[in-house]
């Protein structure tokens, strides 16, 4: 792309100093994971708060087993884990499809006032959800969705509309309008153009949106704790918080549980990091 290699700003600091700062920060970011992993792997006999930085003497999975299956007087997080899967997967797919259609219309079939409509939509992704929780609970209750998995899916789909629309609209804006115009002249309808021109180009957009929605729905706590009062349907964040709030659960079990809860989104981040980044940058409107 560039004729000459990129140089950027050249700080006249010693290389050693620069690397020292970078490594120090890396240690800061890795510290919690170190403690989570090390503690999770210790046997119950060697777990002690006063030795939390020590390496384990062997690799034990007792804490993980206990956090997953539960123990005397407390439930494990396995049920919560699957509840989260049942909520996250359908909500992510539906959000992406809605976002794709909305983004298509708002970028390629603009109508009078469509930019204002888009801005009004965007406001919905910034609001503190506390300001809609009270009527939300009432309405879900009347719809028979309060305290159900479909209810949670519904909530995530509705409040995911702004961000999904935003990402797809910005993505489709990069598709040349000439393509659309040419298809129109050939007599293609709005559906035909979507199906034969835009949809085949949409894969990267879908990946970005689905990663974004997967991560934020998996990690959501506020909707989960408000809508899912019944322990049988509580998602992972709520189950984990209960586990951590219980005085009878050892802290190494809490750490093991936290690590397991973090695994799916961490794996997505590690393997699809590039797309994860694009979603993040899209979250700040213009990227």
């Amino acid at each position: 792309m560039r004729a000459i290699p990129y140089r950027g700003l050249r700080l006249r600091w010693s290389r050693l100093f620069i690397y020292a700062i970078l490594i120090l920060f890396a240690a800061f970011y890795l510290m919690p994971v170190y403690v989570l992993v090390v503690t999770g792997m210790k046997s119950f006999a060697e777990v002690s708060l006063y030795h939390m930085w020590d390496l384990p003497k062997g690799i034990h999975f007792d804490s993980f087993k206990k956090a997953w299956l539960g123990g005397f007087g407390f439930e494990g997080i396995s049920r919560n884990f699957f509840n989260s899967v049942y909520v996250t997967v359908p909500a992510t797919i539906i959000s992406a499809m809605l976002g794709s259609i909305n983004g298509y219309v708002l970028s390629k079939w603009k109508f009078r006032g469509s930019d204002v409509v888009f801005t009004l939509l965007l406001f919905g992704m910034f609001i503190p959800y506390q300001s809609i929780l009270i009527p939300l609970v009432q309405v879900l209750y009347k719809m028979g969705l309060y305290g159900t998995i479909p209810g949670l899916i519904f909530v995530h789909v509705v409040y995911g509309i702004p961000i999904c629309t935003l990402i797809f609209r910005n993505y489709y804006a990069t598709v040349p309008t000439e393509l659309i115009e040419a298809a129109k002249i050939d007599g293609a309808t709005i559906f035909g153009i979507y199906r034969h021109v835009l949809f085949p180009l949409s894969m990267p957009g879908f990946v970005v949106v689905m990663i974004w929605q997967f991560t934020s729905i998996w990690n959501d706590f506020l909707f989960a704790v408000t809508v899912a009062h019944n322990p049988n349907i509580q998602p992972l964040t709520v189950g984990l918080n209960n586990l951590a709030g219980s005085y009878i659960v050892e802290w190494n079990v809490q750490m093991a549980g936290a690590l397991m809860a973090a695994m799916p989104t961490l794996l997505v981040y590690i393997f699809l990091g590039r797309y994860f980044m694009r979603g993040l940058l899209a979250g700040s409107l213009k990227g």
């Binding site: 000459i4 990129y6 950027g8 700003l9 050249r10 700080l11 620069i18 690397y19 890396a26 970011y29 890795l30 919690p32 403690v35 006063y50 930085w53 259609i101 909305n102 219309v105 079939w109 109508f111 204002v116 409509v117 406001f123 609001i127 503190p128 506390q130 300001s131 809609i132 929780l133 009270i134 009527p135 309405v139 509705v158 409040y159 509309i161 991560t215 998996w218 990690n219 959501d220 706590f221 704790v225 964040t237 984990l240 951590a244 802290w251 809490q254 750490m255 936290a258 809860a261 973090a262 961490l266 997505v268 981040y269 590690i270 980044m277 940058l281 979250g283 700040s284 409107l285 213009k286």
Partner: protein
């Protein structure tokens, strides 16, 4: 003619379900919450008799709410400044042709993939100070190992620190995001601009201050908007890490709202907290959205 008519109608029909959902579930619900905040519904069963501004008056006189508002300001300010400073520093350093840049970037950014609940649990134990009798734990213990005993404090158990301890965990989670945004921004500035400044005799520091930083202003603005609204709404992290803390030293309005509404069933009072929260966020967001819209229309 007929074709033109359909070309105008079908797009609107296609997005109508989404628009209707947002109209009801965002704007309608906000309106309803605002209405509830003006009623007497402070028990389990709805009571829509009007109370005027009574709930707001009670709220503003409530010492817990006053502490919460102060905590919110302290949290937002410290969180923003720390994230921007750390994010910018790391971006500039990573832009110095660093070996293993990809690995560093991954390490700085991965906390973004975690939920605030996981972050809260990890940091609750890391910032658990331990006790005088039994010895130090967490970060304090690490300081002891490193001979940095003077850095030991009570963290979130010390009411003088309180919410500032929560800032550490939040900065840990979000500063990598700012790094990524600034790094993308730095790489988007053409080398010619830096070269031109060098030819004019500018030092690298002058280039940083007078060329790079002004060009990165839109990124700074975007980061302030995103981080700012997260800070004002912060809830999960407080739940998992500290709870309201000693003398509400870790409490925030979002936590108080949930407690008031869904634990104490004081719906009207909770609605008034939610409305104040929404106004705070709107002060930050609405000018930004209006600015983006105007730019959009001009293009």
């Amino acid at each position: 003619m007929r074709r033109l008519y359909w070309e105008r109608t079908i797009p609107v029909l296609l997005i109508f379900p989404s628009l209707a959902a947002i109209a009801i579930f965002v704007y309608g619900f906000i309106g309803f919450t605002g209405f509830v905040s003006l009623t007497n519904w402070n028990k389990l069963f709805p009571d829509f008799s009007l109370a005027g501004l009574h709930n707001y008056r009670t709220l503003l006189a409530n010492p817990r709410f006053q502490i919460d508002m102060r905590n919110m300001v302290v949290f937002t300010a410290l969180f923003l400044i720390s994230c921007l400073a750390i994010g910018f520093l790391l971006a500039v350093l990573l832009d110095q042709h660093i070996r293993g840049e990809g690995l560093f970037r991954t390490i700085y950014l991965y906390p973004m993939a975690l939920s605030f609940i996981v972050t809260g649990i990890a940091w609750r134990w890391l910032l658990n100070p331990g006790s005088r009798e039994m010895g130090s734990t967490g970060v304090n213990l690490l300081f002891e190992h490193l001979g940095l005993d003077f850095l030991k404090t009570g963290w979130y158990t010390d009411p003088k620190i309180g919410i500032k301890a929560v800032v550490i965990a939040a900065v840990w989670q979000m500063s990598g995001y700012v790094m990524a945004m600034y790094l993308a921004g730095l790489r988007g500035i053409p080398d010619e601009l830096r070269e031109a400044a060098r030819v004019d005799g500018a030092s690298e520091w002058q280039i940083l201050w007078h060329v790079i930083l002004p060009l990165l202003r839109p990124i700074t603005l975007g980061a302030v908007i995103v981080l700012g609204h997260i800070a004002l709404k912060i809830y999960d992290l407080v739940v998992a890490m500290t709870g309201p803390g000693v003398g509400f030293s870790c409490d925030v309005p979002a936590y108080f709202m949930w407690d008031t509404t869904f634990q104490s069933n004081r719906f009207a009072q909770g609605a008034s907290i939610a409305t104040i929260l929404l106004v705070m966020v709107s002060i930050l967001i609405v000018p930004y959205l209006a600015y983006s819209l105007r730019r959009e229309v001009e293009v």
